[in-house]
Every structure is written in C-alpha cells, then in structure tokens.
C-alpha cells in the first residue's frame, strides 16, 4: 500500500479543517482543542497539531490530506507535515484582509520547505465581503503562473475543484521535468 499526501495550510480560521472534512471519506481525525487565548473571539476550537483526512484511491494507493495548525505557536509542526508532500493548498479567508500578510508568510515558509507545486484557495467566496481571487492574487503577490482559485470549503464540489487543479499543476510540473 502506497501513501501519498497533500498538505492544506493557511492562517488561523482560514477553513482548512472544513476543507478536509468536505472530502475525506473518514471522519477527520482532528486534534482540535478549545481555544484559551484571544483567538476565541474568532472561533471556539482550533487545530493544535493537525487534521487528518483520507481518500482511498484504489487497492494500492491512499491519499492523505493533512491540515496544518493555524496558530503560529504550532508552526514547528509545519516542516514535519510538509515532508514528502505531493503539493500543497494555501487556504486564505477572502473576507479577512488582516490575515493576508500572515498567509504570504506561511506561503514563503512552505515554498522553502519543498519546491513542490501549490495552489491558492480563496475561501469563503460565498460571503459578500470576500475579496475576489484576482484581487487576492495581487494582495498576496502571487505570480501569474500560480493558480488562485475561488473556494467554498464546506462545498464538496468546490473542494474537488481545488484539489483537481492542484493535481493538474503537479502533472504539468512532472511533464516539464520530463521535457
């Protein structure tokens, strides 16, 4: 049995856990705990180590989705989680411009860990205050060759779209490697 993984990263409360919950075939193994600091005003629980979702591809292959902890004090976990990943999704809450700088910093860190393909998921596009993906691209200074995708993390079809676009990007990078 071969295991492969994709990492879902992003700032606190960006929607990483919800994203994995929407598509995982198992109940997400979430290490959420009640929040004990000022972040409580944003949400009651947060992921302190990782979320863990699973999609069985076939008899010999399983895809794991790992969500990184959003709070900065757990960033020591990021490098461990990123080891051996096929690629990663940077989740951004499109309605919270106060998290954009942190999102870019997380992106810089993950790009250093591994030169793997990635996409940016502009989450919460169903909310009226959401910045558009193209505005987010400029705000996060994402190069034009990186996909910035509209996303609603609790919508399975939207999550599928983001994952497929990441996989297409991985495929393209492999083909570039061959040629």
């Amino acid at each position: 049995m071969q295991n492969v993984k994709i990492v879902i990263t992003g700032p606190f409360a960006a929607g990483k856990t919800e994203f994995i919950r929407s598509i995982s075939e198992i109940d997400v193994v979430s290490t959420e705990r009640r929040i004990s600091d000022n972040s409580r005003v944003v949400k009651e629980e947060t992921t302190v180590a990782m979320d863990f979702g699973r999609i069985t591809i076939d008899q010999d292959l399983v895809l794991y989705l790992f969500g990184t902890p959003g709070q900065k004090r757990f960033d020591f976990m990021w490098e461990i989680l990123s080891e051996g990943m096929l690629g990663f999704v940077l989740m951004v809450d499109s309605t919270k411009s106060e998290t954009f700088r942190e999102a870019r910093q997380i992106l810089d860190v993950f790009k250093k860990y591994a030169g793997v393909p990635y996409v940016v998921a502009a989450n919460k596009q169903d909310l009226p205050d959401a910045w558009s993906p193209e505005d987010l691209r400029i705000a996060l200074r994402i190069n034009s060759d990186v996909k910035v995708l509209p996303c609603v993390a609790r919508d399975k079809e939207s999550v599928k779209h983001v994952l497929l676009e990441l996989l297409y990007t991985i495929l393209e990078s492999l083909e570039e490697g061959v040629s």
Partner: protein
Amino acid sequence: MALKGNLRDFSVTQLLNLINLARKTGALTIESDGTTARMYFKEGRLLHASIAGQDDQLTAILQKAGKLTPEQAQIIRTRSQVHTDKELGLLLINAGYLSQEDILSSVKQHVLDVVYYLFPFTDGRFHFEPDQLPPADRITVSLDLESIIMEGSRRIKEWERLQEELPDLDVVLKFADRPRTPLRHINLNVDEWRVISFINGRNTIRQIAQHNGMSEFQIRKIVYGLLSAGLVELVEPAEQRRKAAEAVPAGKPAAPVQPPAVKRNIIMRIIDRIRGI
C-alpha cells in the same frame, strides 16, 4: 467584490498597487486617526484626491501652488459669481490670468500631495466603492499609479515594515515575465538603475546589495518599490534550484531525480478518483 480592511494589514502602497494592476474604477476612502481621505480612480488611474475638512477648492489649490496671491484668492472667494471649480478654471483661462497647464499642474500637485501624505499611514480603515467617480464639478487629472507607487515607496521609512514585506534577501530577482506596467511611465533614480543593472535571474537581493555597496535597508526599499510597481518578481525557490542546477559545471553528478513516470501514474489515479467522488 468588496474591498475593505485595515491599513495594519494592507498598506496604502499595496492598495494602490492592487487598484493599478486590477485597473479598478471607484473611490477609495481611508479613515485614520481623525483623517478621512478619499481618492477616485478610473481604470487604475488616479483622478482626484481630497482630505475631509481641508479646503480643496480650486482657489485654495492655486494659492498653494503660488499661481494666485492670497489677495487674489480672497477676492475670488468674496466676489466671484462662479460656483464650481470648472467654471472658475474657465473664467481664469478666458480672462488670460492663467493657462490650462497652470491649472492642471496645480491640481495634479494637490492630488499628489494628498496621496503622498497618506503613504505613511499604517493604521486605519479603508473601503473601496466600485464605480464611484468624483463629483462632476471637480477638475480631475489622470495620473499613472506606477510612478506614484514608486515615489510613495521611496518615502516609506519604516524599516520593520520593509523587513516584513521582504524578509529574505537570499532570493533571486528577475524581471516580471509579463510586466503590467508600461515602462515608459516609470522614472527610476540612479540607485534603482544600479539595482536593475544587476538583475539577471541569478543574483540574489543580497548579492545585488553587496555589488552596489548598499545597506539592507536601502536594498529592501528599492526592491520593495520595484516589486510593488510590478517591474520585478522574486524567483520561486524551485525555479531558483533549477537555475542553480543548470549552472553546475559539466562533469558534476546531477542530483537524484525520482522517476517521473511513476509519479505521473499516481497523480492520474488520484485525479480519476477525485473526479468520481
């Protein structure tokens, strides 16, 4: 889509850059520490800017620019029968007191003064209302944001902020693949040209600084301005590694590469499965 937030998280430079690159039309309002400023844009170009509570009537603008004496301004204010800036501008031109160029350059300078005043603001709410245009009675200009961003960036003095924006000096700079900035509108100073001359897709920011004898602060300031204006981009680490590998002299063993055929097969299976979920 709404654009609102706080300057703590998204600076004036970044806002103007966004408006420029996305070619936005509308009004940007900034409220900070008792100041409310409003800037109008059309397709990414700056039309007008004002600060609430400040006299930004044409008479005051012309007086500030030295085109009218205080006495002349006072006479216009008390005796003029015209009510709008456009009417007053026409009157002054037709009477031969001022040229159209005098008026437009004064308005331009006023607009620039407002915008540059806002650049150092690091805290305060902002809100962009799409499709809002300036009041019809105002004289507007049409200014490229690229040069404004460059100049505004030059004026940013907060070292910490620059360090946050550009934390890593060991990354390589390249010219933007598809620059969205018309180069003819950019005015570079000598130091910026010195940096530009060392951008070749291989030199890191730190190396460029060393070549030019620049401090970290100087190089950050210049590179941040060039990045904000969309002239240059940071090379992605993977691309950086590939370029470094290409630069390895012949005869050295290449780094081991995982057979792509195996991985490709895996990715195809995952794609098929996810499509079917």
